[in-house]
């Protein structure tokens, strides 16, 4: 359960949004909408704890995320504008490092399977800088298959993906929500859910 109380964020001298309230219970997908510069990315980064809000509080299962710290981050998966993978390392290495840092012990076969499912069979042990933009993004998205995080925060996850990958990602998100997970994302793409509910949040006006 993610609760947001009276959130206010500023960027530079500009106030992006103020008195923002919402709460997401398990099995919810939230769409964040708004024009460019309305603070979508800032909101998502604030939800991750990367950005300190001017005012207000964010609670995870009833406790402030500031106090939870690492405990909150264990439940969190963030996917930002950058892929967060190293070009010099292979897809396998990238994913196994990410899993170790998340505190999960993931079998190597699980990583092979994840890369296969995301459509990168045959590219597992190539340095990722040799892959195309879309393929790099797929490597990063393979983390969604491996992770055990309950809360997904995805910033424009669908850009640079082809039709197949978009469909796969939609399935992944829908499955996550169906199994009681929470997801917040900014996108122009609709995500059809099998079960669970969709919330809409409009920033700016």
């Amino acid at each position: 359960m993610l609760e947001v109380n009276q959130l206010e964020c500023r960027r530079g001298d500009r106030r992006l949004f103020t008195e923002l309230d919402f709460s997401l219970s398990s099995g919810t997908l939230m769409h964040v909408r708004g024009r460019n510069g309305s603070g979508k990315t800032t909101l998502l980064r604030t939800l991750c704890g990367l950005f300190t809000p001017e005012r207000g509080e964010i609670r995870w299962n009833g406790e402030s995320i500031r106090e939870l710290g690492e405990e909150y981050r264990r439940d969190l998966l963030y996917f930002g504008h950058t892929n967060g993978i190293k070009g010099e390392l292979t897809g396998l290495e990238n994913l196994s490092i990410a899993a170790t840092l998340d505190g999960d012990r993931v079998e190597e076969t699980a990583i092979w399977d994840a890369l296969k499912r995301i459509g990168l069979a045959g590219f597992e042990d190539l340095p990722t800088r040799m892959l195309s933009q879309g393929q790099k993004k797929r490597v990063a998205l393979a983390r969604l298959i491996l992770t055990r995080a309950r809360l997904w925060i995805l910033d424009e996850p669908f850009t640079a993906l082809d039709v197949d990958a978009v469909a796969l990602l939609q399935t992944l998100i829908a499955d996550h929500v169906a199994t009681g997970g929470i997801a917040a994302l900014t996108t122009h793409q609709e995500v059809p859910l099998t079960s669970g509910q969709i919330e809409q949040l409009n920033l700016g006006n």
Partner: protein, 223 residues
Amino acid sequence: MLRVFWCILSRDLTLAMRRRTDVLTTLFFFVIVVSLFPLGVGTESKALQIIGPGVVWVAALLASMLALERLYAADYEDGTLEQMLLTAQPLSLLVLAKIAAHWLLTGLPLVLIAPLVGMQYQLADSAIGIMMLALLVGTPILSLIGSIGAALTLGLRGGGILLSLLILPLYIPVLVYGAGAVEVSQIDLADTQPYFALLGAFLLIALVFAPVASSAALRISLE
């Protein structure tokens, strides 16, 4: 805890091994700076012995400074640093692992090449030994303190020059005692002990505080 530390350490070492030139440039920078001084000051052995310790230390400061810029920059650009801030691990631990890798790649080579440099300056064997030991204790402090500056100047234009402006004054104590130990060793070896005690104390303090300050700085810089 240890598993995560090793994970980051081996990751950074692997990355460096796949892009070897970065490590070598730092080392050659150090050697070139040190070799240029006798050409400017004159090659008389008495003069060289006097300026030797200071020159080696200043060159070490500059070399470690040069390498510091890359400590977080690459991870910042591809977003892996952001992911590190969001992992379920204490950030100071990850930072410490990164600093350790950075020292192994840029500090340790300086220690190992010190005998060669010492010979250029006609230093006695005992003085060279002391110099290696002083560099061994001192260069980790440089990496630790420098990491704070590298984190603060992350992604800024002209970050490199700014970094040296911020960090070089903080290097003064290491320079004073590091070079002092080598100078004193030319007179009496026994006198060097307090120098090492002080450098060791600095190292311990830096080990405790620098990772915490660096991770605070990273959180500020990545907002």
